[in-house]
């Protein structure tokens, strides 16, 4: 009886494992996080939500300077009317932080996208095929990486003379490609020696298919983990540009520009510097925390391969 049942079971096709909905998987992952990671995740969700839906939230006009018309005070302390107070032009700091998140996140997202898509692809490709292509591409990457990043960025931004969000995102995005290429290549080199890649080659699978189905999917977790850390770096980089007056033109709010503009009054009032600085610190810290958590998870999975 048992023998019959066993034979029957073997002949039936194995059903694919039931994949849970995204929100369920996210909820499960969230529950597995430590408190620090949970707080970081919540902060990032709030920042992203604010940046995306700022126009629909009950916020004050981030650029309105009421003091010109005697309707507001400059550098006003936090209050019920102005949650984070006002800046040197009597603008609502809370609204400017929310709107300022847009610039930081758009720049970070574009840099991550450039890095993941272009850097990730080329890195995976050269790490897999190796040979002359690898030598040429990595030589180019090394040359770009040899330049001090901020100096190169300053030179490009100055040269272009146009500083809107698109240009800033594009320039930072371009400069993000080399590090991702390096990370992807390193992972691809390792993965291309794994048994499943060897097996695929042995059965005559086309190299492009191997790259697409075996290499890139296994490089991605490491790249995502790196992207979180890199995004934090990019936010600081954009902040540095803005602090130097070389990011998006005013009056578009950016955290770096807010800090730069408020520093001239730092002897008088602290909150116009404090709040945008805190927003940047918490965001960078959160990205690093979540990035570390992701890296730890991807390492576990890697070892399980």
């Amino acid at each position: 009886m048992s023998e019959v049942e066993t034979n029957t079971a073997r002949t039936e096709p194995i059903p694919p494992p039931k994949r849970r909905p995204v929100w369920v998987r996210f909820a499960k992952a969230f529950m597995e996080m430590g408190w620090g990671v949970k707080l970081a995740t919540i902060w990032l969700i709030l920042i992203c939500f604010g940046a995306i839906f700022a126009d629909f939230l009950p916020l004050k006009d981030p650029n309105y300077q009421g003091f010109i018309y005697g309707l507001a005070q400059t550098n006003e302390n936090p209050s019920g009317t102005y949650l984070f107070g006002t800046d040197d032009l009597s603008r609502d700091i809370f609204a400017r932080i929310i709107y300022g998140a847009r610039v930081s996140l758009v720049v970070a997202l574009s840099a991550v996208s450039f890095g993941l898509i272009i850097g990730g692809f080329f890195g995976s490709l050269v790490g897999f095929v190796r040979g002359r292509v690898d030598t040429v591409v990595m030589a180019g990457v090394d040359v770009i990486l040899a330049f001090p990043g901020l100096v190169l960025l300053l030179a490009l931004v100055t040269f272009l003379q146009t500083r809107n969000l698109l240009v800033i995102s594009f320039v930072i995005g371009l400069l993000s490609i080399p590090p991702y290429t390096r990370v992807a290549r390193a992972n691809a080199l390792s993965i291309s020696r794994r048994e499943f890649v060897t097996a695929a080659e042995a059965i005559g699978t086309k190299r492009f298919v191997i790259l697409w189905r075996e290499i890139i999917p296994n490089v991605l977790p490491s790249l995502f983990a790196y992207a979180m850390v890199a995004a934090a770096f990019i936010i600081v980089l954009e902040g540095s540009l803005a602090f130097l007056g070389l990011s998006v033109q005013p009056p578009t709010p950016t955290w770096g520009a807010m800090i730069n503009q408020a520093r001239k009054d730092i002897r008088l009032v602290l909150h116009p510097v404090l709040f945008p600085s805190a927003a940047m610190v918490f965001t960078v810290l959160s990205l690093n925390t979540v990035g570390d958590w992701l890296r730890a998870r991807s390492s576990v999975r890697g070892s399980a391969l």
Binding site: N63, Q65, I68, T158, L246, K264, L268
Partner: protein, 576 residues
């Protein structure tokens, strides 16, 4: 055509442009170029409560060292070649003597010269020189020195700019201690050139010619201090010249201090903190926000000065829609000066400007002040409505659509703040779209020189007589690269004729009437706009005295810290 012409004059223009702009545009301020005759200013020594305090001239003491924090490194010690800023004047006036000095009463009075006299047509100026003066290397000073300096001044950028500006053709030796400056045209403001860097500071021409580059680190002048160390961007050290010829009003030999140390400390806050903490003994600032902070600081003395120099901007009148006076007047009516000054941190420090002269200047006109367009959004909107609905509007945009402007300032936080205020008030009319841009100072200036500007932050007027500055500003654009707004209407031509007329007479009333009419013409067609007069301050430790009440050799009261230029020759340190 004009652009090409401007390019050929780029080098000279850059120097002169710096004169008008740099301080306003943040960062390092260049010399405002040669000033011209009388314009007395007030210098007031203030304590924390802004009450006037006296300097005790009976407690003058010898010895001691003063460390001075500067906004930027000085351009150099080569008067015939370098451009000179506030920082440069602080250092170079300690090493070189000027032929003339600017007095508290607004006159140019003798210093290394003993007198000067023009002819009737003001195109020959005879200057008598002081006898018994020697250079740091022991060489005697006489008329030959002045004559021998001229070839170097002709070749150098700074000198040649002054020669061009003053109309100087030649210098003749009359006797051992008398020279005659021969000009190509009458120039009432010529004495001002003998008080500035390019023509006025006396150096040893032989030493300069022998090693023009090395002269920067081994300058030879007749001044009260000699240079002992020149570590660019770090520290410049001067020591007392024991053989200096000058004495104070009581006959005591000058200078009082043994040593001056100049250190560039670019960050405003750090520089002020350095004085408060005693790391340095003195600092100079042209920033209203820093003056505000210095007023609140304890344990220091603050000496403030407010002169003609004013911030603001200009419209490129060759570029639509600024070629239409309705637009310009509308935007000036929409400019809320007190709000701009507040954004600059200057509320209670800097007064709103309406002309090239501060209320303390003898050239100031209340009539002009009354005529200057006041902040009034209703008038601004009315004028703009008229323009945008004009089928013949010059910018070629559709009738009824807002005008489009680009406003550019250098990327200094205070200027960026002020720029945003201007943008908001312009756009409050609902008929203006303003894009803000900012570029580094050199690019900002070059944009104006190359006619690539639209609405542009700029600085107007200087601390002396503005005759020369006005003449170059009002000259037709095809003749003068310094007519930055390209102002070329009938009123502009009439203004140019007036300034030429003013430059050929000594009579104050005639000149006053001419300048007043010019300022009225500017208020009518508004090729430029103003924010506030520039406040300048020197913050020093309490032990320093003698910054304000210094006197010239003929016992005239000096001009205090005019333009942030401290005469360290007259400063002493109590307790040294």
């Amino acid at each position: 055509m004009r652009v090409a012409r401007k390019k050929t004059r780029g080098a000279v223009a850059l120097l002169a442009a710096s004169a008008l702009v740099i301080a306003a545009c943040g960062g390092d301020d260049s010399d405002s170029g040669p000033a011209t005759t009388a314009a007395p200013q007030t210098s007031t020594t203030l304590d924390q409560q802004n009450t006037e305090i006296e300097e005790n001239v009976d407690e003058r003491v010898y010895g001691g060292q003063v460390i001075i924090g500067l906004e930027a490194e000085s351009n150099g010690f080569r008067p015939w070649d370098d451009s000179c800023s506030t920082n440069c004047y602080n250092m170079s006036a300690a090493v070189f003597d000027k032929l003339l000095e600017y007095s508290a009463s607004g006159e140019y009075v003798p210093w290394l010269a003993t007198g000067y006299e023009p002819n009737e047509t003001l195109d020959e100026w005879t200057v008598t020189l002081r006898e018994g003066v020697t250079f740091h290397n022991g060489k005697a000073f006489n008329a030959d020195i002045i004559v021998d300096m001229l070839p170097l001044q002709r070749e150098g950028a700074g000198g040649s700019a002054s020669i061009t500006g003053s109309g100087l053709l030649d210098i003749e030796k009359v006797d051992e201690f008398t020279v005659k400056y021969i000009l190509g045209r009458g120039n009432v403001s010529f004495p001002s050139f003998l008080e500035r860097y390019g023509l006025g500071m006396v150096f040893d021409p032989e030493a300069a010619a022998a090693d023009p580059v090395g002269f920067d680190s081994a300058p030879v002048g007749t001044g009260p201090f000699t240079l002992v160390k020149r570590d660019i961007d770090a520290e410049t050290v001067l020591e007392r010249n024991p053989n200096y010829w000058g004495t104070d009003s009581q006959g005591n030999q000058l200078p009082y201090l043994d040593r001056l140390v100049f250190r560039p400390i670019p960050d405003e806050g750090t520089r002020l903190d350095s004085v408060v903490s005693g790391t340095v003994d003195a600092m100079i600032t042209l920033r209203q926000g820093t003056i505000r902070d210095a007023r609140a600081a304890s344990g220091i003395k603050l000496i403030e000065f407010q002169g003609n120099n004013t911030g603001g901007g200009m419209f490129n009148t060759a570029s639509p829609p600024f070629d239409d006076v309705r637009v310009r007047r509308a935007l000036v009516h929409a400019n809320n000066q007190p709000a701009v000054i507040e954004a600059l941190g200057g509320t209670g420090i800097s007064a709103s400007a309406t002309q090239w002269y501060s209320p303390d200047s003898p050239w100031y006109s209340q009539k002009v002040a009354d005529a200057w367009p006041k902040f009034d959004l209703a008038i601004a909107t009315e004028l703009l409505t008229e323009y945008v609905n004009d089928p013949a509007r010059s910018d070629g945009l559709a009738v009824g659509s807002p005008i489009e402007t680009t406003l550019s300032c250098p990327p200094d936080p205070t200027l960026i703040a002020a720029m945003q205020v201007v943008q908001q008030t312009w756009e409050a009319t609902g008929l203006v779209k303003t894009e803000l841009t900012s570029f580094d100072q050199a690019t900002h200036i070059n944009m104006a020189l190359g006619d690539q500007h639209h609405a542009h932050c700029w600085r107007w007027a200087d601390e002396g007589d503005n005759q020369s500055g006005l003449a170059t500003f009002l000259a037709p654009p095809e003749l003068s690269v310094l007519n930055f707004p390209n102002w070329s209407s009938e009123l502009a031509s009439a203004s140019f004729a007036l300034v030429q007329q003013a430059g050929s007479v000594l009579d104050f009333d005639t000149r006053y009437a001419a300048y007043e009419q010019i300022m009225l013409n500017i208020a009518t067609e508004v090729p430029i706009w103003y924010s506030g007069h520039t406040a300048i301050a020197v913050a020093v430790v309490e032990e320093l005295d003698g910054l304000v009440n210094w006197t010239t050799p003929d016992s005239s009261l000096g001009s205090g810290i005019r333009g942030g230029e401290v005469r360290w020759i007259g400063v002493w340190r109590t307790g040294s």
